[in-house]
Amino acid sequence: MAKLSLNGICKSFGKTAILKDISLDIEDGEFVSLVGQSGCGKSTLLRVIAGLETPDSGEIRIDGARVNDAAPKHRNIAMVFQDYALYPHMSVAENMGMPLIMARLPLHARLPLLRHLAPAHARERPGIQRDVAEVARKLRIEHLLDRRPAQLSGGQRQRVALGRALVRDPKIFLMDEPLSNLDAKLRVQVRREISELHASSGLTFVYVTHDQVEAMTMSSRVALMQGGSILQMGAPNTLYGNPDTVDVARFIGSPEINILPGTLEDGVVRCGEIVLPIAPAAGGGLRSGPVQVGVRPEHMVLETVPELAYPARAGRGLSLTFRKQTIEDLGGEVLVHGRLDGHPEHDVRIRAQKSEAYGCGGSLSEARDWEVRVNPAHILLFDAGGMRLRAEPVLADDHAEPAALQGGLRKKLDLV
């Protein structure tokens, strides 16, 4: 059982605060990703957990025991480094055996020459070799045991690094961007292997990455970091569907969420001239002021384009006018760039599946206005500072037409 708790961790290098009062709890067997742009402090946080950096303040507990002052080797952790940090002068077997030699042999049995005199050296050797071979078999690298790291491919080195971490039977597995040095294809493969490793070992994993796709696909929970703080921590779907801030919404999801400026006036949300069929939850605080309106590219529906396929009709929703500018063919999907009526300065991205009619010279290639529909449940509302404003869809009937809707603006707002 390995539960990891951080409480109020602060760390500065010189005058730069890298970690600002970080607290988080990781349960036994969880796979938690620390994700964020470079410089957000995620790697430093991992190194604090590993014991490679000492926090200026705050507490690290593993299974309830405070480990702030414990050396890395006493924390029951293993770590995979970004560039693997394999010892170039040692064979794969020696690399993987290092943690065991350190744990099982006394100092004098580890020194050159002197070790041949130490009985522990001869006694422990077979056991170490057996354990290394065992892990190597699991990772399918037995045939590489005699090679040096320089003779291995990137994927093989990655596996050796995993092996060196696994061999010591750690409680917590720390990984610092382990896939960033692999090519795209291999990355997908190793990603699955790490997930399988997590599932089969039942260990607690803490995984640092700048790639939100990695974080989303592998983790049970994701902690999104920015500027030394955790912006939001939760299950991948929570971060995607229910982000706390506009920064979280922007970081998670690809292509990036569409954000348009809007205003809030006495509980009525406008985006440009359009009144949105949503209302901020009661007691939300803010009643008036500038807001930001977010809709993910896959939630903007070009239902009337025959080349695009939608599993079901969008149903009741907001209808807007969209003018296509460019199309990116992503294979099974397309990404359509264009502008919404009334927002000429904002690039809007729409992502959709292709239908069978795609590529037959249909109307998508013509420059014309399309109707785009949005389910109000998919609209994310943020205040000017980027904090989420909880909002609920408002049905047309409940929504007594406010005074603002009169005067010719009605045509833009079409609730189906």
Binding site: C10, S12, G14, A17, K20, D21, I22, S23, L24, D25, D56, R221, G228, S229, I230, L231, Q232, M233, G234, D244
Partner: protein
Amino acid sequence: MTPLLQDGPSRPSRFDLPALWRAVRPRSPSAVIVTALLLLGAWIMVFPFIWMVSSSLKPTSEVFAPVFTIIPKTFAGLGNYYSVLFDQPYPRFLLNSLIVCVGILVVQLVTAIPAAYALAKLKFRGSTILFGTVVASLTIPINVTSIPIYIGIVKVGLLDTHVAMMFPFFISVFAIFLFRQFFRTFPDSIIQAARIDGFSEMEIVLRLILPSAVPAIAAFSVFSFVAHWNDLYWPLIVVQSQDKMTATLSMMQYQQEFYTDYGKTFASATVVTAPMVIAFLLARRHFIRGITMTGVKG
């Protein structure tokens, strides 16, 4: 798990004494001891210089006083240095050293850079043999070739001249080797682009390659200058008159006079050592890089 939203960080204030202490505190008692030992060692390394300068300011009687003091009891510095710089031809010695070092360096650069460029970037028959000869010559020190070169100099009647003092060093195979390695890293695509743009080969060397080689040239210049300023062996062989003596060679004359006028002896030692030491202190990085450059060759 509820998301944790932190407001402002609890940054230590500017005058947070504990944080300041954390930044400068020694990590452990053993670290303090090691630092102290290193500083003691540094004192031993520097002590000969301190002793030399201090003695150069003392009258002869005080140099070997039973108790050494850094500050002279009787200040005789003015007299010592006056005598070194005006009674003895020290300005002449220093000038000789300067002429020899500059002359060697200029010829070395002028001969080595074009050859290195040709070896690095141009195809010509014999380049392999030439480069092989350069590498083989790297191992041959002046001590091995000094006899025939000396005989040759005697035969052409150039003994005891500046040219004789410089001649064996007019070519630096090390410079050719170093610059060739440096030029090889210069991208071919830029040279080809320059040819297409209408640069002549000479212009390519002068306007593209040379400016890019400035760091290597600077490092080599330091290396060459220091080596020849400090050289004792070759001047000892070819210099006969006081008129051609280099600063370093002038130290030989104190073998005889060593026990007569200590103050002046160490004043002249200071004058001879000072140029390189001062230059080193002014351009520490360049010096360390230039002198240890042999360590990165190959």
